[in-house]
Chain length 474, copies 2
């Protein structure tokens, strides 16, 4: 395709995207397709000759769009917000159009250095001190795998350079809680520790926060057994109920025992753009690594996961390779991001953060976050004051965990499997309707419903609509 | 930013990109900036208020563009081609514009199912049998880490679910060659095997292909020592000289000993789109995993790395987690790509492959690849027939490894450090000039120059220009 052909098709595509975005509120929130339906609408065999752009766009419209769950829909309250602000989309388009290659500083100095700049801007905007250096990963899951490998190597005296993890005589242990995101257990497993070496520390029964005393005890027990405490993953805004582990107390314990402390603030990191919320990760300065996702609530389009460390020498020692064909005279004077993560090659991801910050402005982003926090408190109050409804966990951010617990047939409050069936029924009815989307999730083995507020387009009016819809559904 | 504002800015951006692409041939190939120059052109502190789109675009033009090494330039012959075809850029723009979220089938059924469709199309287009199932990773490096973890878990009876790699009494061993990409050693280290458990098997001194007999011997030696052979990485088109390990013979050995065989065809995978080149990976059907990068020579914009396995049950058993908040009624009927790789969330990457195949058409892609293969042979012949010039390795694909070996001051052919200095001098002169870009690389401890042909815009005329330029530079 020539630049001239691209120009023509590109204009049509921009209009199509703008139209698509304008009409999202009229779409069902959750895709209304059956498993396999989208796949079967495509030919099983690859196209043998080129197609026209207009025919391709018709397929995009007719085959793909119906298969999209509209996470940009103002009535989407599922999982966590996954905003893709149009300002950041422009940055992403610029990245695609430039067609750069990030395998070394030399392959695109601007790609490396703008990433340096925006990671440092984000550091300042979240109140982290100058000791932190950041990079952009695809997801917090990948950042966590990296953190677990950094922990493993510190605790094993760089076993990777010798005979590997197998050469370490005593088991290496990682600590977290049952509230931690599923990617934590996955990271521990992928890094080779083994699931049995992941300790789920007791939590406060209401706040679901890790109990530091229980952590200390577990570490003492492991030390007594000759094990090596290697890593702690502390959740700031855990997925289920946005539980907040007490970072300062955990960091003190981690430092006492020289254990790598990774702070997973995938969701709550956005709140750190608001100075009045930074107490939620107080103590973070004493951690070893921090990850959070601007591609969630803040709204820099996926994939934008920030990963900060204090000890970049350790990071590079663990993650670096230095093949001859990538050596250059700039070595030693510049960052080689290939030595800061798993993949060798990277896209120019910094552009979407730069565009987002520059075009929307931090003031507007902060105002939106505060709006969502207010809406969550408003919603919590509604649920709390309504008969038969329960708010099941504190609401430190924008997610409210609720359950409808009406009397059962015997007049007693519904419990057990009856309650589970009731919960899944009413939330299923809403999700099936396409009018809104909510995530059911398990808490203490029972289903509850997470109302996660924070789509860019979600205003108070939409939250009011949701509450009406929920009440009508039970 | 509203859709209306996006529409206006988007049109301007499309024109800017089309202009940028049109004018690439007038740019220096390698960025002419000093380390830190781009970074220092940005404010050290984050923007406090929103900027206008036109001011941002001026910064993009004036600060970012000079810091780009133009890998889309027709005179770029460095590393490997990293084509970003404009057809695939349109697909990428569509992906950004849609703002979808891939954390489960339910979060965007179309994202999952179109990925299924295009991975299967690519399977057919490269002649792989129906036993293979594919997914898109960011890079072949990440695919290799995944393959090494799959190998580790098969050889350790899923130690990840128990006490981890440390609980396995005998060392697990991986085999490759010194020609293998640096990401192979990195993957072995990250997966916890330890560098000492990576065996570099002897190569043919001219073709640099792994010697199957030497592999057999190494495995026998490890077995005799009580070690556990766990993985083999076979390179099809290794980075240095595009060496081709003999897949069929290696696969026979792997199967005999039940060792996971990963085929790294990051570069050469594109050639498998040409039926007449598929003999280069003959035997691939007996491997366990295969990775290759359409984002290299084929030209589907980064990040598009295909990863195929035969045993998806093993893949899912190793990589899956199933958190409550992501469970849905579709489970078991659909693919959950989060269980096929490291990250939980993914972009709608399939769109760029779909757009690329549909808009450019496979015929045109094949014709371009054949053009490059012809150009490489033409170039090889020129070098071979010119006095004092050497072609240092076979040219099975599009990369020609060359050296100028003139007589030294004593009249004898230049060798050793004199030769190294001469090589780095002439290639440095070309790279500094901005007229073309070539990668120097080490072969047997001495510098040589890789001429990697295959940028979308590189025609015979450009290759002729390069040869003139090279001859004038020595």
């Amino acid at each position: 395709m020539t630049p001239a052909e691209f120009r023509e098709a590109g204009h049509a595509l921009i209009d199509w995207i703008a139209d698509f975005r304008e009409h999202i509120p009229e779409q069902p929130v959750r895709a209304q397709v059956e498993p396999g339906e989208v796949r079967r609408s495509f030919p099983a065999e690859p196209p043998q000759k080129a197609d026209s752009f207009s025919s391709l766009m018709a397929d995009l419209e007719n085959k793909v769009v119906p298969g999209i769950t509209q996470v940009q829909h103002p009535m989407h309250y599922g999982w966590f917000p996954s905003n893709a602000s149009l300002a950041s989309v422009l940055g992403d388009i610029a990245s695609s159009g430039l067609g750069t290659l990030g395998i070394s500083w030399e392959s695109c100095p601007a790609l490396t250095e703008v990433e340096e700049v925006v990671c440092d801007w984000m550091r300042q905007l979240t109140g982290l001190s100058e000791q932190w250096r950041g990079t952009i990963h695809d997801t917090a899951s990948t950042a966590c795998v990296t953190a677990m490998i950094l922990a493993r190597e510190r605790a094993s005296d760089f076993s990777k350079n010798g005979n590997g993890l197998q050469s370490v005589a005593s088991p290496l242990v990682v600590y977290s809680t049952s509230q931690a995101h599923s990617s934590i257990a996955k990271a521990v497993q992928l890094a080779g520790f083994g699931q049995h070496n992941l300790r789920y520390i007791d939590e406060d029964p209401y706040t679901r926060a890790m109990l530091p005393m229980a952590l200390s005890e577990a570490i003492r027990g492991d030390l007594a057994a000759g094990h090596i405490p290697a890593g702690i993953v502390c959740s700031v805004g855990a997925t289920g109920t946005t539980a907040m582990d007490p970072v300062a107390e955990i960091a003190a314990i981690a430092n006492e025992h020289n254990i790598w402390l990774h702070v997973d603030a995938a969701m709550a990191g956005s709140a750190m753009l608001l100075p009045e919320y930074r107490h939620l990760w107080e103590g973070v300065e004493a951690a070893d690594s921090v990850a959070w996702n601007p591609h969630k609530w803040m709204g820099t389009i996926l994939d934008t996961a920030l990963f900060y460390v204090r000890d970049t020498a350790h990071l590079e020692r663990v993650m670096s390779t230095n093949p001859a064909y990538l050596q250059s005279s700039a070595d030693g004077q510049v960052i080689q991001y290939r030595d800061w993560g798993i993949p060798l090659g990277r896209r120019f991801r910094a552009l979407k953060l730069w565009f987002h910050l520059s075009l929307d402005g931090i003031d507007a982003i902060q105002a939106r976050l505060r709006r969502d926090l207010d809406n969550a408190q408003w919603f919590r109050e509604r649920v709390e004051t309504e008969k038969d409804w329960q708010v099941l966990a504190p609401v430190p951010l924008q997610t409210v965990c609720i359950r409808h617990e009406p009397p059962g047939e015997d007049g007693q409050p519904m419990t057990g499997e009856d309650l589970d069936a009731h919960t899944l029924e009413w939330v299923g009815r809403i999700n099936d309707s396409g009018q809104a989307f909510l995530s059911p999730s398990l808490l203490d083995g029972r289903w509850m419903v997470r109302v996660s507020i924070g789509v860019e387009g979600t205003t108070r009016k939409h939250v009011e609509q949701l509450w009406d819809l929920i009440q009508a559904s039970v």
